[in-house]
Symmetry: C2
Subunit: 338 residues, 2 copies
DNA sequence: TTGTAAGCGTTATCAT
DNA sequence: ATGATAACGCTTACAA
């Protein structure tokens, strides 16, 4: 049997109330000698208050839920770390949940987290439809929630994301500046807001340069390497494309594979721009030019916003933050010679 | 105010006991009509029992702690996923904790997990000393714990790991078979049991081949890319080394960098073997020959063992499992011409 | 088949 | 400055 506040009280000849007071550092009204006595006994017995019992009363668990598609996607470890570090610094623990982007599991985890009485949730969703149901589940119970990365709805929830449109614009502009005009695009799933926004940036850059938008140059994939590979194969085959903009680095890896298979060199035959700047991608040959998003920061900031909402309680205003993307120039893009 | 078992009871005109019974699916003694009535109301009000309150009584939280050095190390996402999947399938949630291998944080997290009343802990430690303190903290309270990956102590705790000695042997043997005799070794921190075991395998292979062991060929690093890079620089400079065995892939990446800097080609000038077979390393040029460990499986198995211990309660025998490593032949090793 | 009541380990309220 | 006691929301003997 674990040792409880009662044991401390008994051994110190005080009431459990007193013990509770010294544990919670109530400054008011405790004799110095009593405090010391209690503290000593706590130390001696190595007593730790049972946080479950505490939670019952305080309605706080010092726990947050972090729901993401898949930690194996190299984008997420950095993000998770940002969340966990900030949370831990503020005495919170984090439940990690992988949904694989399946709507059913997304909803299940949300429910589960509610059942476990987390103080708040950070959620990277995959399915737009989930968001609607979220409102029912979360909104009326006022459990703080911040949407992370995949599109953000600044009406109903707080959110953190990069400025995806700007990012799409930057990447495309870079290729245009290198005289490319036939720029293939491998997007994420069409319904993802982040994909839409990046594509908007792409169109904007094109329009600015007076180049017509060609739907045939756009292929949707799944943010996986093989998806990028398949899409690249199609793009490289059927069009006189001189550059490809992949909406994440992992898919850009697939482009590398497809190019190698077809005996095309990067960047001589085709320029490639990625997205995310995940670790170790500078090991690629040639090194990948890509869009950097401060993933760790995103995680940290989302945790910060969440904890603010938690501590401020009830009716805080939602807050949506957009981080600045930037272009990392490496070796996979090259001016088009003619 | 969230809705409780009382609300259900009141609305159904039954006692909370009855409600509790139908929630927990006690087969015994509940009238079909009552059950249906209660179920309907639960559905209607979308009631979920408060797991905190439940935990107070049952002494179970359906929660486990997973303590690792750093999720950003590409070895861990796969492992974490294995744990989380298995846990989730059995209605457990997992707290993710990153220690950066700092002994202080390792201990803190263990304590924290105890305070949060997790049902068990999966622990990848970094500091041998931590293990001693673990005994005090964990053993006398019989909180189930399984040691993962970094060395295993089959006396006091359960554990899951690959057969590191065999892995070291396999890698070294492969290089010996290719006629290499001057084989540099970049190990992990010297005190890590997994490093020691891998080195033992290296020695064993050498001995078998009748080649003397040379301590100067062995450099300890930190499992990070830069550590591998530094060590490789030293090794490549001072010795007529023709092959390097790095104790993880990330350090092998560092070897690639160092080799490139010194204008050495892999595998023509130096053969390289890695360890872990992390994702995307086949994107390296040349593709990395490495030791495969079934990381996902390790995670899954550790979760399985942990849950067994949890459900069997009290005095289960500790269980230590060693998985089989295997050599993945790719392009970074080559027969030594002479 | 159903209900009453005790109790889990805390904190919060109100006395003393 | 300290203590008695009622919660918190549930499960579980023990009754009925």
């Amino acid at each position: 049997m674990a040792i409880t506040i009662k044991d401390i009280a008994r051994k110190a000849n005080v009431s459990i109330t007193t013990v509770s007071r010294v544990i919670n550092q109530k400054s008011e009204g405790i004799g110095d000698s009593t405090r010391k006595k209690v503290l000593d006994i706590i130390e001696e017995l190595d007593y730790r208050p049972n946080s479950i019992a505490r939670s019952m009363i305080t309605k706080q668990t010092n726990t947050i839920g972090l729901i993401i598609p898949d930690i194996r996607n190299p984008f997420f470890p950095e993000l998770v770390r940002g969340v966990e570090d900030f949370a831990n610094q503020h005495a919170y623990n984090v439940f990690l949940c992988n949904t694989d982007g399946e709507p059913k599991r997304e909803l299940e985890y949300i429910s589960l987290m509610k059942e476990k009485n987390v103080d708040g949730i950070i959620f990277t969703y995959s399915c737009a439809e989930t968001i609607h149901q979220l409102e029912e589940i979360v909104l009326d119970q006022k459990i703080p929630l911040v949407l992370l990365d995949r599109g953000v709805d600044d009406q109903k929830f707080s959110g953190v994301s990069i400025d995806n449109e700007k990012a799409g614009y930057l990447a495309t502009k870079h290729l245009l500046d290198l005289s490319h005009t036939k720029i293939g695009c491998i997007t994420g799933p069409a319904q993802f807001p982040n994909s839409k926004d990046r594509l908007n940036g792409y169109r904007k850059a094109l329009k600015e340069a007076g180049i017509p938008f060609d739907q045939d140059l756009i292929l949707a994939a799944d943010f996986q390497m093989d998806g990028g590979y398949q899409a690249a194969k199609t793009l490289l085959a059927k069009k006189d494309i001189t550059a490809i903009f992949a909406f994440n680095d992992v898919m850009a890896f697939g482009v590398y594979q497809a190019a190698a298979e077809q005996g095309m060199n990067i960047p001589e035959d085709v320029s490639v721009v990625g997205f995310d700047n995940i670790n170790y991608n500078q090991l690629l040959n040639p090194k990948l030019t890509t869009i950097e998003q401060s993933v760790y920061d995103m995680g940290e900031i989302s945790a910060k916003i969440l904890l603010e909402q938690i501590t401020q309680g009830g009716d805080v205003k939602n807050k949506t933050l957009y981080l600045e993307p930037s272009l990392i120039l490496r070796e996979s893009t090259k001016k088009l010679e003619n």
